[in-house]
C-alpha cells in the first residue's frame, strides 16, 4: 500500500540546506498497525506529511495505493486524501461553530464517492464511539477525549484505506489517551491500516509494528 524508496527531504534556510529526511526506505502493507516513533526534530512529522500527501519529497520515489505520487497536481492529491486517508491530529481541529455531527460530515462535502445516507452513517459512527447523546453538541461542550473521538469519526466517514494519526493522545491525559489508542486497535482489528505518529514511548506497545526515526533515518523497525 505504501512504498517509500530512498525518500529525502530538505528545507532551505537562505543558502543553507537543512536535511530532514536522509533516505527513508519503507513498505507498509494493508492491515498493519504501525507506531512511527521519534523525538521532536527527528523528521517523523515530515515523513507523516509525505505519506499523507500533504508534502512532497525532495528526492526519492513514493508509491501510494500503487500510484506513483511524484508530479501529481494539488487537486489530484486533495482528491486522493479525501478518498483514501483519514487524518487525526493532536489538536483535533474541529470547527468550533459546527456540531459534532456536522464536523464529521465535512469530508462528505468534498467527496466524489457516493456515500449513501451520510448523516445516518455519521450518527452510527458517533454512536459506536459512545457519543450518541452528543451529536448536536459543539466542540466547546465536549471533553478532549470526546473531541478526539469526533475527529476520528470524521476521519472514518469516507471509508478510508489508511488512518494517519499525528500525536493523537498528545493533548489528552494518559487514561483518555489509552482509550483512544484502544479505539485505533479496534479499528485495526476491523481491518483498517493505521499509522500513529508519536514521541511517547508508552504508546509503542499498542501497535503491531514499531518504526523508530532518528535524525532523518530509520533506526529500528520491529514487528511483533
Amino acid at each position: 500500500m505504501i512504498i517509500l524508496k530512498n525518500i529525502k527531504k530538505s528545507y532551505f534556510i537562505g543558502e543553507r540546506e537543512l536535511p530532514i529526511l536522509k533516505g527513508i526506505n519503507l513498505e507498509i502493507a494493508r492491515g498493519e498497525f504501525v507506531i512511527l516513533m521519534g523525538v521532536s526534530g527527528s523528521g517523523k512529522t515530515t515523513l507523516m506529511n509525505i505519506i499523507g500527501l500533504l508534502d512532497k519529497q525532495t528526492e526519492g520515489e513514493y508509491r501510494f495505493m500503487d500510484t506513483p505520487i511524484d508530479g501529481l497536481e494539488d487537486e489530484t492529491l486533495a482528491m486522493m486524501r479525501n478518498k483514501h486517508i483519514g487524518f487525526v491530529f493532536q489538536q483535533f481541529f474541529l470547527l468550533p461553530y459546527l456540531t459534532a455531527l456536522e464536523n464529521v460530515l465535512i469530508p462528505i462535502v468534498y467527496s466524489q464517492k457516493q456515500i449513501k445516507h451520510p448523516r445516518e452513517k455519521a450518527k452510527q459512527l458517533l454512536g459506536k464511539f459512545g457519543l450518541a447523546e452528543r451529536i448536536h453538541n459543539k466542540p466547546s461542550q465536549l471533553s478532549g477525549g470526546e473531541q478526539q473521538r469526533v475527529a476520528i469519526a470524521r476521519a472514518l466517514i469516507n471509508d478510508p484505506d489508511l488512518i494517519l494519526a499525528d500525536e493523537p493522545t498528545g493533548a489528552l491525559d494518559s487514561k483518555t489517551g489509552n482509550e483512544i489508542m484502544e479505539l485505533f486497535h479496534l479499528l485495526n482489528e476491523e481491518g483498517r491500516t493505521v499509522i500513529v505518529v508519536t514521541h511517547d514511548p508508552k504508546l509503542a506497545s499498542f501497535g503491531k509494528r514499531l518504526i523508530r526515526i532518528e535524525d532523518g533515518t530509520i533506526s529500528e523497525d520491529t514487528t511483533d
Partner: protein, 405 residues
C-alpha cells in the same frame, strides 16, 4: 454540488450569527443602498401612477385649445386676454384638415347660477357636443348623455355634475326635473359620477353640460366659442402635435408673423411636467447616494472577509487536509460574502417597503413595486462577489502543513 451549496449557506449563516456586531456593520452599506433605491423607486412609481391616473381621468391624448391668452397651472387657469376670434368652423377645420387629430370638440363655458325651486348654486355651464363624454371619460351615475340630434335641434337638456345634483336635489330623483339656467327651464337628463378637481383647478363636480348649439343660440346668443378639446391619435407625441396645431390655427386665423397668438394650447402633460422633473432630480440624487452606499458596503464586506479568513486559517487547513480543493475554498468564501451582501439586500428591501408604505399613506399614492427591487438584489450579489474575490483567493494561500502545526 447542491449539497455543498446548502452546506456553504449554512456555514455562512452560522458565521454571521457568531459575529453579529461585525456583520451588522458589514451589511449596513448594502442595506442603505438597497433601501434608498427601493423606497425611491416604489414611491416615484406611485407618484407617476397617480399622475397617469389623473391624466387618464382627464382624458387620454387630450390637447386643449383656449381662446385668448391663458396661463394654466395646478392652482387654476388665469385669463390674460380675451378673444372672440375662435369660431365653430375652426373646430371642424382642425378635425378635417390637421393630420393626427381624431376628435375635435368645441365648447363654450361660462360661470352662472343654476336654480331649482328655492336653491341656487353657482356652476360652470359648458356647452359642448356629445363627443365630450367619450373623450373626457365622463361616466354617469344615472340617466343618459345628450345626443347629437338633441344638439342639432338645440334642445334644452342638461347633464349635471355630482355636487350640482347633491346641492339642488339632495334625495330627490333629478331626472326629468327642470333647473333654471339663464332663467330658461332646462331638463336634467343625467348625473355625472364624482370626478373631483381637474388639473386646472376647476371643480368638475360643479359643471353642467348642455348641447353647444342650445347654449350659443338660445341662451347666450354668441357666434364664437371659448375653446376646443382635441384628441390626438395614440402614438403621436403631444409636444409635436401642439406645434403643428399652433401653426395651423395661426394660418386659419390669418395671423401675421409679428402678431401674437390669440389662443393658448396646453396639455395635461405640461402641467405635470414640473412634477416629473422634480422626480427625475431626486432619482439622480438617489442613484448617486446608493452608488456611494454600495461602494462603502462593498469595502465593508471586503474588510470583514479578509479578517474572517485570517481568523479561520485552521478551518481552511483542515478542509484542505480532508480533500477540499482550492476552488472549493474560493467557492465557500465567495458564497459567504454573497450571503452577507444578500442579507443586506433583503433587509434593505424590507425597510424600503416600510418607508414606501408610510410615504404612500401620507401622500395617497398607489403601491407600484419598482424594478429597483430585483435590480438592487442583483447588484447586491455582484457587490458580494467582487468584494469577496480577493479575500477568497487569499484563503487559498494557506497551506495545510503550515497552518496546522
Amino acid at each position: 454540488m447542491i449539497y455543498s451549496l446548502k452546506f456553504y449557506f449554512k456555514i455562512a449563516l452560522q458565521n454571521l450569527l457568531i459575529h453579529k456586531a461585525r456583520m451588522t456593520l458589514a451589511i449596513l452599506g448594502i442595506l442603505f443602498a438597497v433601501m434608498s433605491l427601493v423606497a425611491f423607486g416604489n414611491i416615484s412609481n406611485g407618484m407617476k401612477k397617480k399622475i397617469d391616473d389623473e391624466i387618464n381621468r382627464f382624458g387620454k391624448n387630450l390637447i386643449i385649445l383656449r381662446s385668448g391668452l391663458v396661463f394654466a397651472s395646478r392652482g387654476g387657469t388665469k385669463q390674460f386676454s380675451e378673444s372672440k376670434s375662435l369660431k365653430l368652423e375652426d373646430a371642424k377645420k382642425i378635425r378635417e384638415l390637421l393630420p393626427g387629430i381624431q376628435e375635435s370638440v368645441p365648447f363654450f363655458d361660462i360661470t352662472y347660477p343654476a336654480r331649482y325651486q328655492e336653491k341656487t348654486v353657482t356652476v360652470s355651464i359648458v356647452g359642448t357636443s356629445d363627443s365630450i363624454f367619450r373623450i373626457r371619460n365622463i361616466n354617469l351615475l344615472m340617466g343618459r348623455y345628450f345626443s347629437r340630434d338633441e344638439d342639432q335641434k338645440t334642445e334644452k337638456k342638461a347633464v349635471v355634475g355630482y355636487k350640482v345634483f347633491d346641492n339642488l336635489f339632495e334625495l330627490e330623483n333629478p331626472l326629468g326635473k327642470y333647473i333654471l339656467i339663464y332663467r330658461v327651464p332646462t331638463e336634467v337628463i343625467g348625473v355625472m359620477e364624482e370626478k373631483g378637481t381637474d388639473f386646472a383647478g376647476q371643480d368638475q363636480d360643479l359643471q353642467v353640460y348642455i348641447p353647444l348649439n342650445t347654449l350659443m343660440r338660445r341662451y347666450s346668443n354668441v357666434d364664437y366659442i371659448k375653446g376646443i378639446y382635441l384628441q390626438a391619435y395614440d402614438g403621436i407625441p403631444l409636444s409635436q402635435m401642439k406645434i403643428s396645431l399652433r401653426n395651423f390655427v395661426r394660418t386659419i386665423h390669418n395671423l401675421k408673423d409679428e402678431q401674437k397668438d390669440d389662443f393658448t394650447i396646453f396639455t395635461m402633460e405640461d402641467v405635470v411636467r414640473t412634477q416629473e422633473e422634480g422626480i427625475r432630480l431626486v432619482s439622480i440624487l438617489t442613484v448617486i447616494a446608493s452608488t456611494v452606499s454600495f461602494l462603502i458596503g462593498g469595502l465593508g464586506i471586503f474588510a470583514i472577509m479578509l479578517l474572517s479568513i485570517s481568523e479561520r486559517k485552521m478551518e481552511i487547513g483542515i478542509r484542505r487536509v480532508v480533500g477540499s480543493k482550492k476552488r472549493d475554498i474560493i467557492f465557500q468564501f465567495l458564497t459567504e460574502s454573497v450571503v452577507v451582501a444578500l442579507i443586506g439586500g433583503f433587509c434593505g428591501i424590507c425597510i424600503g417597503f416600510i418607508i414606501t408604505m408610510i410615504v404612500n399613506f401620507i401622500g395617497g399614492f398607489p403601491l407600484v413595486a419598482s424594478r429597483n427591487v430585483p435590480f438592487s438584489l442583483v447588484v447586491s450579489i455582484l457587490i458580494g462577489m467582487i468584494a469577496g474575490i480577493y479575500p477568497a483567493f487569499q484563503g487559498t494561500k494557506y497551506e495545510p502543513i503550515e497552518v496546522l502545526q
